[in-house]
């Protein structure tokens, strides 16, 4: 029989022993934000020192990068770039998410669909998709369609495979419970399988989003010189290294914020119990 571990709360983090270590450990486990800020601060400090050494002429310090970032934020070039980068990213991720979750559910529920579709995505996931991106130039020309396709190519396999794994491993005891209370197949999917699978589905969406970012940037660097990829290429070509670094760092920032937003959505809508300890 299934154990009750399904309903157990998350394991508590282990504290470091005694004294100063103990209180610092408690600070970190109780305020995860604090621990992230400290580790980021440390990273920036090392960056600043390395930039001042200096490692290379093409390696700006943290403060130079920061000021370039602020300048680009206020002169509007960052916004303009993200305007054209985020659009295909959002469209691509939305399509990958919808198709991926639907395909994952269908494959998780039907052996035939699994047999037909799963091998394709397993092959695609292990293929070096980034190398295939230049191919789509000839197929779809330049512009929104090519970028969206690049996002889908990189994001879809991981989203589909995660959705499929999650549905396949949905808690059989909860499925039996729903059936025993005469839940319809549709209710079973909507009220049991999707919420039960949502942590893994969302893990897939997060990975898909990260992969989609790679896809769109690669498309901008390789195919259609627009958006943030173009901003990077441009500043590199005129040797504005601080601006180039700022553009690269902004990608990390935007992708982190997007991932956090996705997580917040999941916790709020699908798994409210995770909001509490």
């Amino acid at each position: 029989m299934m154990a009750s571990s399904q309903v157990n709360g998350p394991a508590r983090a282990v504290h470091s022993p005694a004294g100063w270590g103990l209180s610092l450990g408690r600070l970190f486990t109780q305020h995860p934000i604090a621990s992230r800020l400290v580790s980021l601060g440390l990273f920036f400090l090392i960056w600043e020192i390395a930039g001042r050494v200096p490692i290379s002429y093409a390696f700006p310090t943290f403060l130079e990068t920061l000021s370039a970032f602020v300048t680009m934020l206020f002169d509007g070039s960052l916004f303009a770039a993200y305007g054209s980068t985020l659009q295909p990213l959002i469209i691509g991720i939305a399509i990958s998410g919808a198709v991926g979750v639907a395909l994952g559910i269908v494959m998780g529920l039907s052996r035939t669909a699994e047999w037909l579709v799963a091998p394709l995505f397993i092959v695609l996931q292990s293929a070096p998709m980034a190398a295939l991106i230049p191919l789509i130039t000839f197929v779809y020309g330049i512009g929104l369609a090519a970028k969206t396709l690049a996002v889908i190519m990189l994001a879809l396999p991981v989203v589909v495979l995660n959705g499929y794994k999650a549905v396949r491993n949905a808690n059989p005891s909860l499925v039996a419970m729903c059936y025993s209370f005469q839940g319809t197949k549709l209710q079973q999917i909507a009220k049991i399988i999707i919420p039960d699978a949502s942590p893994v589905i969302f893990a897939g969406l997060r990975l898909g989003l990260a992969a989609g970012f790679i896809g769109v940037i690669l498309a901008e660097l390789l195919i259609t010189p627009t958006g943030i990829g173009d901003l990077i290429t441009y500043h590199r070509s005129v040797a504005n290294y601080a601006e180039m670094y700022a553009a690269v760092v902004s990608i990390i920032l935007v992708s982190t914020l997007t991932l956090a937003a996705l997580e917040a959505f999941e916790v709020r809508v699908l798994r409210p119990e995770k909001r509490r300890g």
Binding site: M1, S4, S173, A176, Q182, D196, E273
Partner: protein
């Protein structure tokens, strides 16, 4: 022992069996779990299935619930053959089967939610049964915030809330310590009295079976058959402690132990 099987269909419905099990066999591939089980479960009574571990108690209960297909044979509930789960039966799962993402309130009301009942109505019914199992004040908690025994009671309340005539309970007190177990047994007796439903109860504990049951079905080791049916003569109007010292109670426990003993060696 079962006595008037011949005249059972002539009896008025109120006295007939709520659940009839007719020559049920169940094989899991080469494992023969149940061999030709014939049983009647009287309406409004609590019948316990007792037998050695792995003999097929859960299997039989799930066949009655319509969750598992028998290899051959038939189960009838109120005279109608079982082909799947139905609104007249509710199952209490051994592993609780609570949705971790739903509050106690939503879990208890889930059977009603699936039937499409409106939120206000199902919550007021759920609130009643949450109180009935002693969980008032925990409506907005999530399962991981409850103890094992409390989770089990959420499962009980969920089964009660759909107002099924037949309640199928699979070792409902297995995850509970001895003090709480006794308290739950007393609560269960009170609920049997109050709800007037047909209970089919699986347990490992002989004492528990004798304490709560109107009827005890002893199953033999696999392939399982009905080896004995015992109706404990226990005066349930007495206080719980008096019952546990009652000679009839102690004699029945001894009788069952003698019956089961030769399976354990």
């Amino acid at each position: 022992m079962t006595s008037s099987t011949a005249s059972i269909h002539a009896l008025p419905r109120a006295e007939s069996a709520a659940v009839e099990v007719r020559s049920i066999c169940k094989n899991y591939k080469e494992v023969e779990a149940l061999r030709s089980i014939d049983l009647d479960f009287p309406r409004g009574k609590l019948t316990t299935l007792l037998g050695p571990s792995g003999c097929g108690k859960t299997t039989l209960l799930k066949i009655i619930a319509g969750l598992v297909e028998p290899t051959s044979g038939e189960v009838r509930v109120n005279g109608k053959p079982v082909t799947g789960p139905g609104p007249e039966r509710a199952f209490v799962f051994q592993d609780f089967a609570l949705m971790p993402w739903a509050t106690v309130m939503r879990n208890v009301a889930f059977g009603l939610e699936l039937k499409g009942m409106g939120k206000a109505e199902r919550q007021s019914i759920a609130r009643h049964y949450i109180a009935e199992v002693g969980l008032t004040g925990f409506e907005d908690k999530y399962p991981h915030e409850l103890s094992g025994g409390m989770r089990q009671r959420v499962g009980l309340a969920r089964a009660f809330a759909v107002n099924a005539e037949v309640l199928l309970l699979d070792e409902p007190f297995s995850a509970v310590d001895e003090q709480n177990r006794r308290k739950f047994q007393e609560d269960l007796l009170r609920l049997v009295e109050k709800e007037r439903k047909t209970f089919i109860f699986v347990t490992h504990s002989i004492e528990e079976a004798v304490y709560v049951s109107d009827r005890i079905v002893l199953l033999s080791r696999r392939p399982s058959r009905v080896s004995q049916i015992i109706e404990p003569k226990v005066d349930r109007t007495a206080s719980p402690d008096a019952i546990r010292r009652d000679q009839g109670y102690l004699d029945t426990v001894e009788e069952i132990w003698q019956g089961l003993k030769h399976y354990v060696d």
